[in-house]
C-alpha cells in the first residue's frame, strides 16, 4: 500500500442487516484505528445504518471511553443499531448530500452483500461528482454467503452456537430417543446448517441428516432417509436450513404452510416462526406413523438465538472481526481506495489468514453457496472437507462424554 497522505475529513461508520455476536468487534476495531488518525477529524457512528445517515442521527465515537468500547466489542448485536432498509437511488443521493454537508471522506459500512451494495452505490456517486470518498465494506454475516472472502466474520460464532446446540440435542435425544428436527437459519446458503455437524465425534452422533438449500428437498426422500436412520439406531436428528426448496424452487415452508411476510429486500420472513419445523415433523408423522408405534417426533427452530447468544462466541471469529474493522480503516487511510475487506486463508497445516482488499462490486452483486465438495453425494449430509474448512473458524467446543456402559449379565 502506497503511503499517501490521507485526505482530512470526517468518517461515518454504520452497521446493517442481522446482528451477530462479533459485529461490534468490527465496529470497535475500526473506531480504535480511526481514533489514532489525525486525518479523520470526526468519527460519526450512524444510528441504524442508512436510516441514521438519512436523518443525520450520528453519535460521536471519539467521546466513548476506551473501557466502554472494549466492553461493547465483547457484546453481541449491533451497538449502533441496525437496519434492513433497502435504499432507493433518491435516498442514496440524500445520504451523499449529508456526507458532503459533514465533510465525510471515510465511510465504513459493516454488513452483508446488501450493505456492500449500498457502499458501492455511494462510492460510485462520489466518483461521478469528483468528491473524494473512501468507502469500505466490512464483511459480516452469520450465513457466510459473501463472495471473495474465505469466510465472514460472524459465521464462526453462529456456527459455534449451532454446533453446541446439536451436541446438546444429540445427548438429549440419546436419553429420550425419537426423531428430532432442528431448523437452522440460512435462506440460500447452507453453511450455518452444515455447522450442525461440527460437534460430532463419536459413532452415531447426530445430526444424522443435514439438508441445505443448495440441494432440492424431496419430501419422499427425506422421509425415507429418516426411516433408514431410525430403523437402524432408534433415533434420528435432522438439521435443516430454513430456506430449503423443492426441485421446482418452491420453498418447502410455502408448499405446506402459509407465510406471507416479506421484508423490504423482498426476502420472505422465515425466522421467528416455528412453521417449517412443524411442517416437517408432520410429514414424518404422516409418513412413518403407521410403521412405528409411539413415534416421538419433535421440531425446534433455533431462531434468533443463533445470532446474538452472549457467552457462546468463537475466539477466532472475535479476533478476525476486530481485524477486519481495523484493516478497513488502515486500507482507507493508506490510499485513495475503496473496497471490501476479504479474509484469505493461508496454506500450511496451521490455520492462519491474511486480510486483502477486494472491489466493492465483487462483493455487492452476488452471494455464494456451499461448494459441491462440502455436500455428500446423497445430498443429506456434509463432507469431511466442510469440517476441515469450518472447524478452525469455530474454535474449541465443549467436551462431552458417554459412559463406557459395561452391561451387567442378566440373572436367569
Amino acid at each position: 500500500m502506497a503511503n499517501v497522505t490521507p485526505i482530512k475529513g470526517a468518517a461515518v461508520i454504520g452497521q446493517s442487516g442481522g446482528p451477530t455476536c462479533v459485529i461490534n468487534q468490527s465496529l470497535v476495531g475500526a473506531a480504535l484505528e480511526m481514533r489514532k488518525s489525525k486525518a479523520i477529524t470526526e468519527i460519526y457512528g450512524a444510528l441504524h445504518g442508512v436510516a441514521g445517515m438519512l436523518s443525520e442521527n450520528f453519535i460521536d465515537l471519539r467521546k466513548e471511553d476506551l473501557k466502554t468500547l472494549k466492553a461493547v466489542a465483547e457484546t453481541p448485536s449491533s451497538a449502533l443499531g441496525s437496519v434492513r432498509k433497502k435504499v432507493s437511488p433518491e435516498e442514496c443521493r440524500a445520504i451523499f448530500k449529508n456526507f458532503q454537508k459533514y465533510n465525510v471522506r471515510y465511510f465504513f459500512y459493516i454488513g452483508g452483500n446488501d450493505t456492500a451494495e449500498t457502499a458501492h452505490i455511494l462510492n460510485e456517486m462520489a466518483k461521478e461528482e469528483g468528491y473524494e470518498l473512501r468507502a469500505f465494506h466490512i464483511p459480516k454475516t452469520i450465513d457466510n454467503d459473501l463472495m471473495v472472502t474465505d469466510h465472514c466474520p460472524g459465521y464462526g460464532s453462529a456456527a459455534k452456537f449451532v454446533a453446541q446446540a446439536f451436541m446438546g440435542d444429540d445427548l438429549d435425544n440419546r436419553s429420550l430417543p425419537g426423531i428430532k428436527i432442528n431448523v437452522v437459519m440460512g435462506r440460500h446458503a447452507g453453511f450455518l446448517t452444515a455447522a450442525s455437524v461440527l460437534g460430532r465425534t463419536k459413532k452415531d452422533d447426530g445430526p444424522h441428516l443435514v439438508y441445505v438449500p443448495e440441494r432440492a428437498f424431496d419430501v419422499d426422500k427425506f422421509v425415507a432417509d429418516v426411516d433408514a436412520v431410525y430403523s437402524r439406531i432408534g433415533r434420528c436428528i435432522v438439521a435443516v436450513s430454513e430456506g430449503i426448496c423443492d426441485a421446482a424452487g418452491e420453498m418447502i415452508l410455502h408448499k405446506f404452510a402459509k407465510s406471507s411476510e416479506v421484508d423490504s429486500h423482498g426476502n420472505i420472513q422465515l425466522s421467528g416462526t416455528g412453521a417449517l419445523g412443524d411442517v416437517l415433523a408432520n410429514l414424518v408423522k404422516q409418513g412413518l406413523g403407521q410403521k412405528y408405534q409411539k413415534l416421538r417426533v419433535r421440531a425446534d427452530t433455533f431462531g434468533y438465538l443463533q445470532r446474538c447468544y452472549p457467552g457462546v462466541v468463537s475466539k477466532v471469529d472475535q479476533k478476525e472481526a476486530f481485524e477486519a474493522g481495523r484493516t478497513a480503516v488502515r486500507m482507507a487511510l493508506g490510499e485513495d481506495v475503496d473496497g471490501s475487506v476479504a479474509i484469505k486463508r493461508l496454506g500450511g497445516s496451521k490455520y492462519a489468514v491474511k486480510y486483502v482488499r477486494t472491489p466493492l462490486s465483487s462483493v455487492a452483486k452476488e452471494t455464494t453457496h456451499l461448494p459441491d465438495a462440502f455436500i455428500n453425494a446423497a445430498g443429506n449430509d456434509v463432507t469431511k472437507a466442510f469440517v476441515k474448512y469450518a472447524l478452525p473458524l469455530v474454535g474449541e467446543l465443549p467436551k462431552v462424554a458417554l459412559l463406557k456402559g459395561v452391561k451387567v449379565k442378566k440373572k436367569s
Copy 2:
C-alpha cells in the same frame, strides 16, 4: 444420623424425565459415594430408568473409570438414558421382583415428582413385604416445581440459558426494533420463564413483559400490555411460559391452535413445536397491525435447547446437583431410611445451603408454583424478590455493554 451398620446388597440408580445440564452430576456424585462403600456390593445403572429396571438392562458403574465419570458429570443430558414411562402397579411389582432377584437394597432415582412417586411406590412395596430397601429420590427438574426443596438441581443451569438468551435477544431487538415473543418451557410453574429477567441491568432492558402459568392469560390485556410498551419505547420483548391458560383454565395454545399429542403421564406435548409463539405473534399483529405501520412481530420457541445446551451451565447448580447425589447415598448408608434430598437455603447475606431429608411422599404428591410474592400485581412481570431468590442459583452472567452514545449536533 445414627451410625448403623448398613445392610449389604446391590444398588440401582436411574435417571428419569426430561434431561438437564447437571443430572449427570447427581449420577456421578452418587456413584462415587457408592464406590466408597463396602456395604454396596454392586452398582447397577438402570438404562432408561424404569424401562431398564423392568428389562434388567443394567450397566456396571464400578467398571467406569474415574476420568470417564468426571467427564460424564460435566456432560449434559442423562448418561444412563431417561424415560417418560408412568409405571403401572403390575410393573412396579415386576421391578420389585427384579430388585429382590439382584438383592438390590439401595435404590436411587433422579428426577421430578413422577420419579419420586415411583421411588415411593417401590419403597412402600418393600415395606409391605418386609424387604429392607433404602429408596432415595434425588431431585432434578428445570421447572423448579418440586415441593419442600428451596430449588431443584437443573433449574439454575436452565435459568442461566434462558437469562442469557433474553440478554442476547434484547440486544438484538435494540438493534432491529420490533415486538419479539419468546416461549419458554414450563407447563404449570413459571420459574423458568421468570428467569428471563435475570440479565436485566439497564433501564428498558427486556423482557418487558413476563407471563407465567400462575396467572390467567387474557388475550386483550396481553395485546394492551404490548401496545403500552411498544408505544413508549418502540420495541417490546415478551417472555411467556408454554403452559399459559385463560381464566377458565384452557391452554392458550389449544384455544387458538391445534395440538393433540399426549405423553404417557397425560401431559400434552408443548415443547418441540413453535405453535404458541406463532399464535401469540398473530394475536399481536391482529390487535396492533392497524395502529402501527410495518409492525415487526416475531416469535421464537426456545425448545429443547433450554435443558441440554453444553457450555452454558451454572457452577452453583453443578455443585449442588453433585452434592444432592452424594448426600442421598450418605443418608441411605447412614440409617435404614428412605426419602428425597431437599436443599435448604440458609439465612445470612451470603448464599449457602444445606441438604436435608424429606419423606418421599412429601415430594411425590404435588408440584409447587411461583409464590405470589414473585409475581407483580399486574401479572405481567416478576418482582425483585424473585430476582433475589433466583440470581444466586444462576451465578455469573456475561457482561454486556451499550455505547454511551453522545449525539452529534445536526448541521442546519
